[in-house]
C-alpha cells in the first residue's frame, strides 16, 4: 500500500511542513497564551506586569500583522508521525526540507543555519544534516514544527548524575535557571529529560516542550515553584513569574547512569501540528 513515491503526496508533505512552521512562528499555542495571561493576573511586581503586558500585546500584534512572533525565528525541529504500514522514504524527508525552504522564503524566516566551524550560512535553514527530523509511527500522518531560538538553547544543560544523587534532580534544574538568569527571555518553560542515554536525555528534554503547559504533576509543580522563588522574573527584571511550567519526560537508563537534561524554552514557546491528508 506504499504511496510513498506519489508526487502529490510529496507536495502535500512540503505544504504541511510549511504550514506547520508558519503557524508555529506566528500563532502562539492557546495553552501558552493562557499561562501568560494567568501569570499577568497573579504577578505582584509592577515592572514584571509591564513586561508580561508587552509580551501579550506582541502576541496579538504578530497575529494581526501575520509576522513571526520574534525576529529569532529559530531552527525548526520537526516531529513526524507516519501511519502504521507506511514507509518513511528519503523522498519524503526531502519534501520536508522543501517545505522548510519555502517557509524561509515566504514567511519570511531569518536564515539562521550556519556551518559550525566556517560559520557560513546555508541561507535556507536546511542543509548540513539539519534541521533534525524525528519520525515515529502513529495513527495519523502529522508534521509538528518546534522552532527553537538560540537565546534559550544556549543556556540549556545536561549532566550525567550519579544514580544515588536522584534527590538532587530538582536542584540541578533550579540551578540551571539560576545560571541562565534573564538570558533565555523568561518566563520560560523547562523541558526536563531524565534517563535514557546521554543523547536520549537531551531528546526527551526537547520533546517535553511539546507537552501542554496547562497541567503539571506534583513533582513538576514542586520544581516550578522553586524556580519561581528565585524571583528572576520576566526578562530577568524581577518578579513572581520566572517559569510557566516544568515538563518532565523519562526513559529507562543503565543501572550505573542517571542522565538529566534541561532544555530551556523562552516565553515564545512555538509549536504547531499539521496533518498530511492521505
Amino acid at each position: 500500500m506504499s504511496r510513498s513515491g506519489d508526487p502529490d503526496l510529496l507536495k502535500r508533505i512540503s505544504d504541511a511542513t510549511e504550514k506547520a512552521v508558519r503557524d508555529a512562528e506566528i500563532y502562539l499555542p492557546d495553552d501558552v497564551k493562557a499561562r501568560l495571561t494567568e501569570a499577568l493576573k497573579m504577578e505582584s511586581v509592577v515592572v514584571a506586569k509591564q513586561e508580561l503586558k508587552n509580551i501579550l500585546e506582541n502576541i496579538c500584534l504578530a497575529e494581526e500583522r501575520s509576522a513571526p512572533l520574534c525576529q529569532d525565528t529559530g531552527i525548526p525541529v520537526l516531529y513526524i508521525t507516519v501511519p502504521y504500514g507506511m514507509t518513511w522514504t528519503p523522498e519524503m524527508e526531502e519534501a520536508v526540507f522543501t517545505g522548510i525552504q519555502n517557509a524561509t522564503e515566504h514567511i519570511p524566516l531569518r536564515p539562521n543555519l550556519v556551518d559550525p566551524l566556517s560559520r557560513e550560512n546555508t541561507k535556507t535553514n536546511t542543509g548540513l544534516s539539519m534541521p533534525p527530523v524525528h519520525v515515529k509511527q502513529g495513527e495519523r500522518f502529522t508534521i509538528t514544527a518546534l522552532p527553537k531560538g538560540a537565546g534559550s538553547e544556549n543556556v540549556s544543560r545536561i549532566r550525567m548524575m550519579n544514580p544515588s544523587d536522584k534527590g538532587n534532580i530538582p536542584k540541578f534544574v533550579v540551578e540551571t535557571m539560576l545560571e541562565a538568569g534573564g538570558r533565555p527571555c523568561p518566563p520560560v518553560i523547562l523541558g526536563v529529560g531524565i534517563g535514557g542515554t546521554f543523547d536520549v536525555a537531551a531528546s526527551l528534554a526537547k520533546e517535553a516542550l511539546l507537552e501542554p503547559v496547562d497541567m503539571m504533576t506534583d513533582y513538576e509543580q514542586e520544581i516550578c515553584d522553586q524556580v519561581n522563588q528565585l524571583g528572576i522574573g520576566p526578562m530577568g527584571l524581577g518578579g513572581d513569574t520566572t517559569c510557566l511550567a516544568v515538563k518532565i519526560k523519562t526513559a529507562g537508563c543503565h543501572t550505573a547512569s542517571l542522565p538529566v537534561a534541561v532544555n530551556i524554552q523562552c516565553w515564545a514557546a512555538r509549536r504547531a501540528t499539521v496533518e498530511v491528508l492521505l
Partner: protein, 185 residues
C-alpha cells in the same frame, strides 16, 4: 509613567533603575559590526544626546517588519567610546557589565525592552533611513523614529542596576534553598 523624547539631555540623570518610561524620537540600531565601524570611521550621525538600540531588525521595502532587542552584553567592551561621544541612552535586552555600569555614571542610562517583542517594537516604529547598508540587514545602522516605546530603566546614571540586584537576590534564595552551592560532582 514618564515620557522621554530624543535627543536626551540631563533629564536622564534623574531616572532611577526600576522606573518605567516611554521613549519617542530618533534611535539608531547598532550591533557588533556597527560599533566596530563607527569606532574606525567616526559617527554617521550626531552622537550628542543620541540613543542606540541593540537590534538587528528585519526591514523590507523601507518598512520595519520586526525589530526586537538583541543581547546587549555582546557590546560590553564596545560601549565606552559611544558614551564618551555623548550617547545618553542605550536600549537592549539582558543588561550590560559592571564596567558599563560605571561608564554610565553621571551621563547615560540603559533601557531594557522586552525580549522577543519584535512586533510590539515594530508597531511603534517608522523607518527613517539607513547607514552602512553594506554591513547587511542585521548589522547596518537603521535610523528609526519611535512612538512611545515602553521601556524599563534597568541601569541608571548613579550605579543603580536592576539586573544585578535581581541576580544577587536569586543567588541568595538558591543558597538558602540548597545550602551547598553547586551540583557539580
Amino acid at each position: 509613567m514618564r515620557h522621554l523624547q530624543t535627543p536626551l539631555g540631563d533629564e536622564v540623570l534623574s531616572l532611577k533603575a526600576g522606573e518605567m518610561v516611554t521613549l519617542s524620537g530618533t534611535v539608531y540600531t547598532a550591533r557588533d559590526e556597527a560599533h566596530l565601524r563607527i569606532m574606525e570611521d567616526g559617527f554617521p550621525f550626531d552622537p550628542k544626546g543620541a540613543v542606540l538600540y541593540h537590534c538587528g531588525p528585519v526591514v523590507a521595502d523601507n518598512r520595519i517588519i520586526v525589530a526586537g532587542p538583541t543581547t546587549s552584553a555582546r557590546m560590553n567592551r564596545l560601549t565606552g567610546f559611544m558614551l564618551d561621544a555623548g550617547i545618553r541612552g542605550i536600549i537592549g535586552k539582558g543588561g550590560m557589565s559592571a564596567e558599563v555600569r560605571e561608564l554610565l555614571r553621571a551621563r547615560a542610562v540603559y533601557f531594557a525592552f522586552t525580549g522577543g517583542c519584535a512586533n510590539l517594537a515594530a508597531a511603534r516604529m517608522k523607518y527613517a533611513g539607513v547607514h552602512y547598508p553594506e554591513l547587511g540587514m542585521a548589522e547596518a545602522v537603521w535610523i528609526i523614529e519611535l512612538d512611545k516605546l515602553p521601556l524599563t530603566v534597568a541601569m541608571d546614571a548613579h550605579g543603580g542596576d536592576l539586573f544585578a540586584v535581581i541576580e544577587d537576590h536569586a543567588h541568595e534564595v538558591f543558597q538558602a534553598m540548597y545550602p551547598t552551592s553547586t551540583t557539580r560532582i
